[in-house]
């Protein structure tokens, strides 16, 4: 039982990290960035390439994360900003990000091919010597590292958003871009920063996912994309603590469904459960209530 909880938390930490980036952009811009999963995938490939060239994973991970953030900046500039003035910017931004995602995936396919890539052995030490008995289960160093990094990033993001000036600006823009501009906030810069952070988180999730399951391919984002969407809806659109909570919840639910009902039921139950939950509580776990101030 304890082992399954560990498995669930482990999976959940990756979902949580991925969803956090998603919900950040949604909260700020009211746009779903569908290229998030593509950045997730790209960062992993970059990390593999860096490790392949001899860098330690502890160096490759931050580098890949920064790279992902930069891709996010480019995305914002190219795919989102030109459409911001339009009245239908929510939908056009969505479509634009979908286009960007397709392009990124095609580029990755061209560079790395469709077959599965793996981190070289010893990237993160493995084997019985690196395992710990905890709560009736076995946690490997790999799993602990991933959960720790995920938690650290969540805390870092929370501090950034609550405690720094940049964070305040991003929150102001999320509340109302016009009012923020009137108050002297550089809206463009705040939005760019939000995208950088969001994509960096997505990239981090990707590298951790790649390390966890060691099965990296240009279409690896697909499996997580829908789950990420489910998580941010479950957590409440735009709520960061909600995304984290829902991420862990989904991880636990999936693991227990598989263990007790079988692998085939996993996605069916996860999404059916999500549906049911939304019927009962449309705003998600921690989302804002339906009425919005003008």
């Amino acid at each position: 039982m304890g082992q399954q909880v560990i498995n669930g938390l482990f999976l959940g930490s990756i979902y949580a990290l991925f969803a956090l980036g998603y919900t950040l952009v949604f909260g700020v811009l009211d746009i779903l960035n569908l290229a998030h999963a593509a950045v997730f995938m790209l960062a992993t490939f970059v990390a593999v390439a860096l490790v392949g060239h001899g860098l330690n994973i502890l160096v490759a991970l931050p580098l890949a994360v920064v790279f992902a953030g930069l891709v996010g900046l480019v995305l914002e500039r190219v795919a989102f900003r030109p459409l911001r003035a339009r009245t239908d910017s929510n939908i056009s931004g969505l479509i634009s990000s979908l286009a960007a995602a397709t392009i990124i995936e095609a580029v990755a396919l061209e560079i790395w091919g469709p077959n599965i890539t793996r981190f070289p052995f010893g990237t993160l030490p493995d084997g019985p010597a690196n395992q710990l008995a905890l709560f009736g289960g076995t946690v490997s160093r790999l799993q602990l590292t991933i959960i720790a990094v995920a938690v650290l990033l969540v805390l870092a993001l929370t501090w950034l958003v609550k405690g720094t000036r940049l964070g305040r600006e991003v929150r102001a823009v999320a509340e109302s871009p016009r009012a923020a501009r009137v108050l002297g906030v550089d809206v463009d810069r705040a939005i760019a920063a939000a995208f950088f952070i969001s994509s960096a988180l997505g990239g981090a999730a990707g590298v951790l996912y790649g390390l966890a399951f060691n099965s990296i391919s240009p279409d690896m984002g697909r499996g997580v994309e829908l789950k990420g969407l489910a998580v941010i809806i479950l957590g409440g659109m735009g709520s960061m603590p909600g995304a984290v909570l829902a991420g862990f919840a989904l991880g636990l639910i999936e693991v227990f469904v598989v263990a007790n009902l079988g692998g085939s039921w996993r996605d069916a139950i996860s999404f059916a459960g999500l549906f049911l939950f939304l019927v009962l509580r449309p705003r998600g776990l921690l989302g804002a209530a339906a009425t919005r101030e003008a």
Binding site: Q3, Q4, N7, G8, F10, L11, P114, N115, I116, R118, F121, D126, G127, P128, Q131, G137, T138, S140, L142, Q143, A212, F213, N214, S215, M220, G223, E254, V255, F256, V258, A259, N260, G262, G263, S264
Partner: protein
């Protein structure tokens, strides 16, 4: 002078034509292989085996006046593309025979087309017991079925390891892994081994920790897994990560050096039945391994079976004297005790291959035959 020049040119041209008309006939063999997708690891080995065999047969001159030509296409490990490739082979390239497809899953969809068009198919890696050769009399098989390999391999494993209980994990979205599971379960039952728990997964899955944790909680003495190599690699790695040090028994999907390359030290102690006894000193096996060494290629069972597939077709052409579709089929009916890298090969009355099988274990980073 100009007229004489023209006449000699015409004479030279017609001489050239008659000379080329006396050249050999080309017999095309289409190979539908999974070069991309979950079965890519097997397809790559098969491609090397087929190309090498075609070269060796042509070089040896055993088929007088006939030159073999391999046409290789990718079926992407999917049914849809397998069907498209078969149609191309049958109608556009007009091949005399087809080798493949790599996956049984694809074969169940594509082979009926060849049967309908009366094109012989030689399955070199389909190990699904039912649903391949029973499609029709043009479908023949070189690869031993799971029903032929698993029972003898599991029995050998039990004799060596003495396990009394097992946990089973299998992929339920692929005809091969599902069919192999059926054989594994019934073999375990007939050996008196209790199946404590059964779990499933799907090909796109990457996380098997939930299923493995549930299985290991019942404390089995051996893990029996039916999966293709990419899933198998993840399963073996994660099982070891969860602390399982015991034996793991796998089906034909595990039969690839890619398993060892991907799972690394975690793959030690994995048992797999095999249709290819690598250390055998049989002349045909030694010749095959030399041909591979010359090409600087490390072959696996899939390579040996694909190579044998070409040898079988070549023998059929030799026996019937001609290289047409029905000639090859007639040749198969006559084929008996052909020397191949897999041993002495014959077709049985169900058009399936027959030869001895063996058990291997991953030890020190290599597959080693268990005596």
């Amino acid at each position: 002078m100009r007229l004489a020049g023209r006449i000699s040119l015409f004479a030279a041209a017609s001489l050239l034509l008659t000379v080329s008309a006396r050249a050999e006939t080309v017999v095309k063999i289409g190979a539908a292989l999974s070069l991309t997708g979950p079965a890519a690891a097997y397809g790559a080995q098969q491609k090397t085996g087929i190309l090498a065999a075609v070269e060796e047969v042509n070089k040896s001159g055993a088929l007088k006046g006939v030159k073999l030509e391999a046409v290789i296409e990718d079926d992407a490990s999917t049914k849809e593309q397998g069907i498209a490739v078969f149609q191309r082979f049958i109608n556009k390239d007009k091949v005399s025979a087809i080798i493949g497809p790599t996956l049984s899953n694809t074969a169940t969809a594509a082979d009926p087309l060849a049967q309908g068009a009366k094109v012989p198919v030689v399955a070199v890696s389909n190990t699904l017991p039912k649903g391949i050769t029973d499609i029709g009399d043009y479908i023949w098989r070189v690869s031993l079925t799971e029903a032929q390999v698993i029972p003898s391999a599991l029995k050998s494993a039990k004799a060596k390891l003495g396990f009394k209980s097992a946990g089973i994990l299998y992929g339920n979205d692929d005809a091969f892994t599902q069919g192999a599971y059926g054989v594994m379960k019934s073999t375990l039952d007939s050996l008196g081994t209790a199946t404590l728990a059964t779990q499933t997964f799907a090909k796109p899955d990457k996380d098997y920790t939930a299923q493995l944790t549930a299985l290991l909680a019942t404390k089995p003495e051996i893990l029996v897994v039916s999966a293709l190599v990419e899933n198998a690699s993840g399963i073996v790695a994660q099982a070891r990560q969860l602390g399982w040090q015991g034996p793991i028994f796998g089906g034909n999907g595990f039969n690839s050096p890619k398993l060892i390359a991907n799972a690394g030290p975690a793959s030690e102690g994995v048992y797999v039945g095999t249709a290819w006894n690598k250390p055998s000193t049989d002349a045909a096996n030694l010749a095959f391994q030399k041909a591979m060494a010359d090409r600087k290629h490390d072959p696996d069972q899939f390579c040996a079976q694909a190579y044998t597939g070409v040898l079988v077709i070549a023998e059929a052409i030799k026996l019937s004297g001609k290289g047409g579709r029905d000639d090859i089929k007639a040749g198969f009916l006559k084929l008996k005790d052909l020397s191949t890298p897999l041993g002495k090969f014959s077709f049985n009355t169900d058009r399936d291959g027959e030869h001895g099988a063996a058990l291997q274990v991953v030890k020190d980073g290599k597959f080693q035959i268990v005596p």
